[in-house]
Structures are given as C-alpha cells and as structure tokens.
Symmetry: C2
Subunit: 474 residues, 2 copies
C-alpha cells in the first residue's frame, strides 16, 4: 500500500463519517502535506484517487471539495428484532437464492460472489495447475485432518495484519468458512441451546443453528457500530446463552466495521458471562481502509473466541478453503472436523500457500479493495438516483454488499417475484433473519464490474420499488 493510497483512505473515511460534509472545501494540499508529513505530490495523488472515486471534485483555482453527488442517503435504522429465542425458518427462501444459476441470463445482484476476473488471480491458477501435475501426486493423499502446515503457517502470517498472534498449530483448515462456522457451533452447542446473533445476520449461520436444533436470539444491531451491547447484556441476563455469533468486520449484510472500543466491550461482556464468541471474519481483509481492522480474537486472552474465515470472498469461493482458530476449543473442533468431511482437499491448500508466500494474496487484495470501494460509490450513487427518496442505505466500510431499507410496509418478496419476470435477481431481507423479519429490506451486491446492464437493473428495481410504494400509498 502506497503512502497516497493510505492518505486517500484516511480522508475518504472522514468524508464517509461526515467530518467533511457535502460541498465542503477540503484542506489545502499544503496543509495536508504538513499534517501528515508527506510530500505535496503524495497529497495530490491521494486527491486524485478520491476524485476517481467521485468522492471529491476539483474546482479550478479553488481547491478540492466534497462531491455534491456524494450527499449520503439516510442509514438504515437500528434493527429491532423480537428479543426472544426463536426456531429458525426461511430455509425455502435461502434455498431459492442458493439455487440461482449464474448462467441463466439474469442480472445477479443477490449472491455473495466476489469478482474473480482480476488478472492478479492468475498466479494462483498457475499454482493449482502446476501442483496437479507433480509426479509424486502431492496433494492426492489424505492430508492432515487439521490441514497442510504450509498453508496454516501462511494464514498465521496473514493474521498478524488483524492483530492476531497465532501459531500455525492454532489454526485448522476447513472446507470454506461455512464448515468453520458449522464446526464452531457444533463444538459449542447442543440441541435446544440458545445462540445470540447480530441481526440482520448471515443466513448460513442461522440455517446451521436450525439444523442443529438450536434457537437463535436476534439482538438489535446498529448499522454503524454493530450488535447492541445493552441489548446483548439484557439477553445474557435473561437467557442461558451458549455462544455469541457476530461478524464485526465488514458485516454481511450491513457493511459496518465495529469500532475497536466496541469490540473490546463485547469481549469484556462475554468474559463476564463466560460465554464464547464465534467471530466471522470472512470479509475482514476486504476493509477499504488499510491497515485492516483488528478482530475480536486479537483482544482475546483466554481462548474464548473461535475465529472463522476463508479465502472465498478474497480469492475465490470455488477453492473451498477456509479456516478456524478455535482457541480453547481445538479438541472439540478437531472431532467435529473429522466427522464433517475428514481432511480438506490438499492441492488447493498447497496452491494457496504458495500464492500467499509469494505475495500474490496481498497484491490481489489491494486491487480488489480499490475495485470494491470504487463500485461502492457508484452503486450508492445509482441507488440515490433511481430509488425513491425514503430509501435508507448502508455505508459499507468494506466488502461488496449493500443493505437497502424501505419503509416498513414494503414487501421485498413481492418485489422479488416481479423482478424474477424481468431477469433481475436480488437477495430478499427475510433470509437475514431467523424469524423472517426485514421483509422491507433487500441486499444488493456490487462485486462485479458495473456495466450499463447493471445500472439498468438497478433502475428497474428502483422503478418497481416506487410503483409498489405508490400503490400502497394510493
């Protein structure tokens, strides 16, 4: 990461946070150069980056201004889920999303698929191809049940970036983050138990709870700071909660990064009630700011955090390479890994290890972070342009997912049926709730290159939304 990228990140964040408001003049190049102890040209390059992202505009002879276009839409409201443990529903809706065929000719804005077209992935594909041809068929045997040491070492190295000082032996390779989460839940809970989750939350987790006969307790969640600690504490008082599951960094679907102080407070709370935390960091490396945010795991002193992640969002989901750092639950996790899939496929592990060791991962990440951040601005702009004014939109701090909230009486399932007919796919709100809340919400992905066809699709959605609201109001 260059100095100017870093500086652009800092200023960009200030704008996002509203420290500089729409149309406001930004500090002069000279001021910034002194403040940050960088050269004039570094500041100029940083401003150029922000111009490209359409966050700021240069006005001849007057300097740089926060882009008019960038007036932010209102944020979604704090969520208010039912604060009692519920049996999980919505499997039919999740299945419909999973079954979406990427080659059916529709515009797919609903799925959590990253962009895998970047040439920075090519060395990984070459490594995969080379390893397949190794004459000793390395990678075709059963590997270690905990994964290839070579990869676990590289992951331990990467984890330093998020504040984690782990040894390779603390890490177990899994078939994607999905298996990591499933192992964590299965290692900690019995049927009938209660797990507290942020809300809205990733359907993979709630469906796993469902499969294990566990109840979800959805906790109100702020679209900027994450799970409400007050609500969580009340819940911990009232219910025998077996685990807390959160996605604090680049949350799916809300996009926030939980502030560090909030992470510490959450951990302290969990310590107070002696409750383990299942932390999903699958999008953490895609934070737009660098260095990336720390994990709760990095603050953990007594091994109560089970960190789950994967290369699915940062590299490619087809690899099916994830990991879990289960802290003090390593033994249970190993048993669950054995009975879930046995060892994980070895060849992709060896290929990823090589790719990371040779610096390919960081290079790819830099590119993808910039790509997604750029797309975020454009997509947010389109929503502002094409959606009705009462629309509330999340402000993603990383990753490639946008959460959109309509007035309470809006029905995204109805919208979805209409969009099906015209070849546009979205993710409907209720799949992000154990109890089917968020019917008035939807999630859109901006991972792929934003073509005119996608702009057209967003316009189509916006029009359909307006029509439905008009009908209801009429």
């Amino acid at each position: 990461m260059t100095r100017y990228d870093q500086l652009a990140g800092i200023i960009g964040e200030r704008i996002e946070q509203g420290l500089y408001t729409c149309g406001e003049r930004l500090p002069s190049v000279r001021t910034l150069s002194q403040e940050h102890e960088v050269s004039i040209s570094t500041v100029q390059q940083a401003y150029r980056v922000l111009e490209e992202r359409q966050l700021i505009e240069a006005r001849p002879k007057s300097g740089y201004f926060v882009s008019q276009q960038h007036e932010l839409a209102a944020l979604p409201a704090m969520s208010r889920p039912a604060q009692r443990p519920v049996e999980i529903s919505q499997w039919d809706l999740v299945l419909k999303l999973l079954r979406a065929d990427p080659e059916d000719g529709m515009v797919h804005l609903g799925i959590g698929m990253p962009d895998i077209s970047s040439p920075t992935l090519r060395p990984l594909m070459k490594a995969l191809s080379r390893i397949a041809l190794q004459p000793d068929l390395r990678g075709m045997a059963y590997g270690d049940i905990c994964g290839a040491p070579a990869l676990r070492e590289q992951i331990a190295r990467l984890l330093v970036d998020s504040g984690n000082l782990l040894s390779w032996e603390d890490i177990m390779i899994t078939s994607g983050c999905h298996e990591a989460l499933s192992i964590a839940i299965h290692a900690l809970c019995q049927p009938g138990d209660i797990v507290a989750v942020d809300s809205p939350s990733f359907h993979g987790v709630t469906q796993t709870l469902k499969a294990f006969g566990i109840k979800a307790l959805e906790i109100p969640t702020d679209p900027v700071t994450g799970i409400s600690l007050e609500a969580l504490e009340l819940a911990l008082e009232q219910w025998p909660i077996k685990a807390i599951q959160v996605t604090p960094n680049c949350n799916n679907p809300l996009g926030y990064i939980m502030p560090d102080s909030h992470k510490q407070a959450l951990l302290t709370l969990a310590q107070g009630y002696d409750t383990p935390i299942i932390e999903d960091d699958v999008y953490g490396d895609l934070a737009y700011r660098y260095p990336r945010p720390v994990t709760i795991k990095s603050l953990d002193e007594d091994g109560r955090v089970l960190l789950c992640s994967s290369f699915s969002k940062t590299l490619a989901p087809g690899l099916r390479i994830g990991w879990i750092a289960p802290g003090r639950y390593m033994e249970q996790a190993t048993h669950m890994k054995y009975i879930s899939t046995g060892a994980t496929a070895l060849q992709p592990q060896l290929a990823v290890a090589e790719f990371v060791r040779q610096g390919g991962y960081q290079k790819h990440l830099r590119r993808m972070r910039a790509h997604y951040q750029h797309n975020c601005d454009i997509m947010t702009g389109w929503i502002k342009t094409y959606f009705p004014p009462e629309t509330r939109v999340s402000r993603p701090q990383g990753s490639f997912l946008l959460w959109i909230e309509m007035p309470e009486h809006f029905d995204s399932l109805r919208l979805n049926r209409q969009l099906d007919q015209v070849g546009v796919q979205i993710a409907v709100g209720p799949i992000f709730s154990a109890s089917g809340k968020y019917r008035h919400c939807m999630r859109l992905s901006y991972a792929l290159a934003l073509t005119p066809a996608i702009e057209q699709a967003v316009k189509t959605i916006g029009n359909a939304v307006k029509r439905q609201l008009d009908e209801v109001n009429a």
Copy 2:
C-alpha cells in the same frame, strides 16, 4: 473385461469359497472350455492369470492344482458385540491413527489409503491441471449446492454397474464419503436416537454418531455374509432404531461381500420396521469380481436407502469428491449439505467428470482391482507364514484391507505400542467398535506395492504377536 479375466474370476472365487480345496486338481482345460462355452485358449489364459496370483500351480503333464501355499487360515469368528445401545468412545485412538504422518518413515499398514501411483491416474491429473487454467476460471465460483450436473450424470452412469437406475438429480456431490455419511446421519437422527451398525464397523460412522449424541447398537456380524439378520430383527423389536448403517460390499474392515439374497432380506426387514438404511459403498467398485456386486439401494423401491460413496478409494482421497443418493430424504440432505460446507469445490468435480466420461475411470479400476487382488494373495500368504497358527484372517472379496483376529486375551494396543518403537504402524481393533471391543484384532492394509520392507514389517508384527502370546501362555 475380457472373457478370460471373467473366467479367472469365477474359478478364483470357487477356490476362495473352498469349493476346490488345497492341492486338489482343477477341471481340465477342455472340460472348462465346454462348461463355459469358451475357447481352449481362453481357459488357458484364465489359468495363467490364476497362476500369477499364486492361487493355482501347473504340474507338468498332470494339469492345474489349487496351490499348496493357498491353504486358507481360519476365518474370524462371528462377532459378538454387546447388544445394547452404547455411547461411543475411542476418539483418542481414532485421532492417533488420523494423525499418522505418512512421511514419518514408518511402514504404514494401518491407514485406509489406496495406491495412487498407477499411471492410469495421469489423465485425471492432466484434466485437473487443464481446468485450473481455463481462462473463464470455470470452477472458481460457488457451484450448485448439489454439485456439478456433469459429474452427477457420470456417477449416475457408473451406478448402473451396481444395479442402480438413478437420474443425476437423485445424486448430490459431497466432500468425500465422510460428508455423505455425516449428512445421512444428520438428516435422519436426533440426539439420543439409536442407530444399528454392523460390527466391526468403520470408525468414521461411529465417531459421527458420537458427535451427534446418537447411540450405536452394534449388531453381530458374520465375516462372510455380513450383519446378522436374526440379531438385527431382535434389536429392531426391542429398540426404537432410527436407522441401519451397513457397508455390504467389500466391507471395511471384514472384506466380505454380502450375498444378494442377504441384501434383499435386510431390505425387507428394514421395510417391515419402516427403518431407513444408510448404505456405504465406498469400496464397492473395488470388488475383485466383475461385474461388481449390486447395492442394497438397487433393490430399494420406496426410497428408504441413502447410498453413500466417494472416489477416495477408487481414485484418490485428496480429491475429496463423494456423493450421496439420499432417496426420499433429498430435501433434508440438501439442508444438511448447505450447513455442512455449502457447495463442494467445483474444479475437481469437473476433472473427475471428464475422466469418467473418457473411460479413464473404468480403465483405472480394472488395473487396481487386479493389483489389490494380487496383493491380497501375497499378504494373506505372509500372514500365514509369519503369524502364529491360531491367527484368524478375513478373506477380502475386494478392496485392500485385511482383518486379523488373535485369541481373545491378545492385546493389540500393547502390540501397537511395541510396534511404534520399531517403525511399524497398524490399525488396532478397538477403533472399529463403538464400545472398544476387538482389542484382540487388528487391520492391515495391502494397498501399496508389497516391497521387502513391508514383508519385513509383517514379519516383525508376527514375531511381536508370537512373543505376546507366549508371554501370556507362560
């Protein structure tokens, strides 16, 4: 498969079954040629195959005789497990086996790893390598949760060989047979339930039951015909059994192929008690006879059999490609697949599909069947030579695993500790029992090319066994 291979298979089986006994003269070439309506030279070639396998010997001017060397050791006894549901133990012993490092310089006779050194696997590796380099990164996206249709079609085609007429939509791809079994169990059972298993049985299944809080009911099992139907019926009468789990073809560890009539009777029994059957066919394609035996699934009329298998033993375990044909439980199985690992890695699926379509699978199988059958004879010979006479040995009808039974008071755990010191690894009996029975047994693999080092290792085991028995008897 040529006519003479087929004929050799038939005669070989008759010898194995004791229809022709040790030293007995075999039918003349002319007689066989008439009986089987084949040419003289076909019979001669068949006899040559059996000579190579050291099953028969030619005596000049007198004809062919069953090899003296081939006097069979006694079969293991019918197993007599405790006939009540038990909580499963033995995880520590299983873990020790799993953790065995194939490169620690020991002679590994304990693990269930196939031989992956055959050149007939090369086209598969080439396909893997080629697919990794496809410019559209085919196989790097999330695939269909049920697996790639191309592979499911090929598997449906292969399954015809074992009598199954299934559509590709009846089949779901999994991360190995392990995940298939785990999905089946999870789809059918709740914690506290009871599952009936053959005994001895594969530790992957019992450990999965353990993880789900399910009890195992071990049913007495015959080393030639499989699970005792009488004992199973009694158990079904007495206990609320939720599922029956068996490995009827090339059983691990006993090596038998359950006779067809026995399969039908088992299914009828399951129908009578309306109980589903989880059938593990992971070694079925490695039966020494061709055509291979049918599955219970092929006799199933009401979708109660969940067929589980993989390419781990036939091709290579590192692929982590298995499948389940869950019959009427497809919906539950799909949910369990989603929460277990999400979709299965796509590239290896595409590579295997191509390999099968181009005939590579059948070609490889032919070679491996001959290889394992050849090794079976040699390994059995070594056991006879180096083990004490009271040793009982299974008569594998396929696959590459030998079950060895010593007198009741023998302790394979003690043996194992001694062998650890001298660089020989075996699988101890108790891991094949939910309740830790079979301490007097062990399992040896003869998958790999049988080198002098392996012969030496078998001799070392035999001597250690003799010493222990002498000590105990002294």
